[in-house]
């Protein structure tokens, strides 16, 4: 089941040399611990890049993106099993 959200979200992460480790998501007064990044890809909004991530928690896949122009993280949709 997929739920479209499209809302701003807070993200706790560690940025290394060319790598990102997402620790947890803060959304809707909830802290969602992230197990791992299952997929990442980049799109372009004109000349500006947008970084997309799919991260897994124990019960769902969270599709989020970071817009470096707006310095904003957004939760796009939640994918759940079943």
């Amino acid at each position: 089941m997929i739920t479209d959200v499209n809302e701003p979200i807070k993200v706790k992460l560690i940025v290394g040399k060319g790598t990102v480790k997402i620790i947890s998501l803060f959304w809707n007064s909830r802290i969602i611990p992230v197990e791992n990044i299952t997929y990442q890809w980049m799109t372009k909004n004109g000349i500006y890049p947008v970084f997309h991530f799919a991260v897994s928690s124990n019960d769902a896949i969270w599709e989020i993106h970071f817009d470096p122009v707006k310095l904003q993280w957004k939760l796009d949709r939640i994918h759940m099993d079943g």
């Binding site: 997929i2 997929y39 890809w41 799109t43 909004n45 004109g46 500006y48 799919a54 099993d81």
Partner: protein
């Protein structure tokens, strides 16, 4: 030597990697999750039930009732494809992008020993898997035709090497429909002639096939003998046409929606032509109706153009020559008769050219569809998008050029 790299069930594998809940399950990837949409790709778990790309979702569900339908995300696939081709370019500069999920590599004859080729194939597979977590199949031979057949036969996640001396034996028992370039209709014609396997074509003289099928017959004869190009094409050939098509979210006979979609397609075609500095003078409109019958109309004009409005004007005039009696499912607009230069039009609209230039500059910087003709809004009102869209009016362009415009007005349309 030629190496053909073909990703295994590409779109479906990307979705299964992206969402681990889908792993091990039959998955259909489609542009639209409606039941009358077409399956763009399916996972190997679905293929086991006989499901194939191009089938409608209803057909697919009849064969594989438990399948999960996933809406495809082209941007995700394009980015993944670019990463795959970047990996391939670390092995050789001679890489041909054959499609979004397959490519040919040309390698030096010094790597021609079997064990070296096998090692190289494994290295390519490992490098792609490390970058994307996806698997691919690899065919290696002395030409593109046999390399492609080999990669197809060793799917999924295999490597097959066919040396030059083995090609004749390899082709002998290969069904003709397995050869790339021989479609179902040609295969049927060949079967009627008693040719089911490539080896059987040896009994048929080339002149007979040429007489029966013309140039295609000659091509088929060479293909069935395992002959093909031995060099990769690094530069993409000159385009013959620019076109876009769109399957409507719901079949419709609402002329406003039809015109709105035609306007968007004309805008997309025009923008791409201007980006690559091409002009064309033939407009074609393709229509597919809800009952899957199709028609197309084309007209040649005595001058060359690449602006959205002209393309839209001609496309809409062509569609009005067709009496729309049934609901429309798909619309397509293309421009052909392509030239890099064009004969100067004495009556050119310089003001409009400047406006298009400004519009293209904005769209290039801030993303496609930042500025677009208002007519395109009608389709978005009829089918509201889930996400927000930035909509500008043409009048805003003046404010942008004079510095009065303060920012994008985000509107829910």
């Amino acid at each position: 030597m030629i190496i053909h790299v073909d990703m295994d069930a590409f779109f479906a594998s990307v979705e299964q990697t992206f969402n681990p809940f889908l792993r091990g399950k039959p998955v259909f990837v489609s542009g639209n999750t409606a039941r009358d949409s077409v399956i763009a790709a399916c996972s190997y778990e679905a293929k086991k039930y006989g499901v194939k790309s191009g089938m409608s979702i209803v057909e697919g569900l009849n064969m594989c009732p438990g399948a999960i339908i996933v809406r495809g995300n082209p941007e995700k696939y394009i980015d993944t494809s670019q990463r795959i081709f970047n990996v391939l370019k670390t092995f050789t500069e001679k890489v041909e992008l054959y499609s979004i999920d397959e490519g040919f590599l040309e390698i030096n004859p010094e790597n021609m020993r079997h064990e070296n080729l096998m090692r190289l194939g494994l290295s390519i597979k490992n490098a792609i898997n490390k970058e994307t977590s996806l698997t691919c199949s690899i065919g290696i031979s002395c030409n593109k035709t046999v390399a492609k057949i080999a990669s197809d036969l060793c799917k999924p996640d295999g490597i097959m090497i066919v040396n030059e001396s083995e090609i004749r034996e390899f082709m002998k028992t290969l069904p003709v429909e397995k050869v790339p370039g021989i479609g179902p209709k040609m295969a049927e014609q060949l079967n009627l002639m008693g040719i089911e396997f490539c080896g059987q074509i040896e009994k048929i003289p080339l002149s007979l096939l040429k007489k029966k099928f013309g140039v295609r017959g000659e091509q088929v004869w060479y293909l069935c003998h395992g002959m093909g190009e031995t060099k990769v094409r690094i530069q993409s050939p000159e385009p013959k046409s620019f076109g876009h098509s769109y399957t409507l979210r719901n079949d419709t006979d609402d002329i406003n929606i039809i015109l709105s979609v035609l306007c968007r397609l004309s805008h997309q075609v025009g923008m791409r032509m201007r980006q690559e500095s091409y002009y064309g003078n033939v407009v074609t409109v393709a229509v597919r109706y809800s009952d899957f019958t199709a028609c197309s109309k084309r007209k040649t004009y005595p001058f060359w153009f690449n602006d959205d409005q002209t393309i839209f004007r001609y496309a809409s005039s062509l569609i009005f020559t067709e009496s729309i009696m049934k609901k429309i499912r798909l619309l397509g607009v293309s421009v052909s008769g392509i030239h890099k230069r064009y004969q100067m039009n004495l009556f050119r609209d310089e003001k409009r050219e400047r406006m298009l230039k400004a519009m293209d500059a904005i769209n290039e910087k801030y993303g496609n569809d930042t500025v677009f003709p208002c007519m395109m809004l009608y389709e978005q009102i009829a089918y509201p998008p889930v996400t927000k869209t930035h909509a500008f009016m043409f009048s805003d362009l003046k404010k942008i050029s004079s510095g009065q415009f303060t920012g994008a007005q985000e509107k829910q349309v």
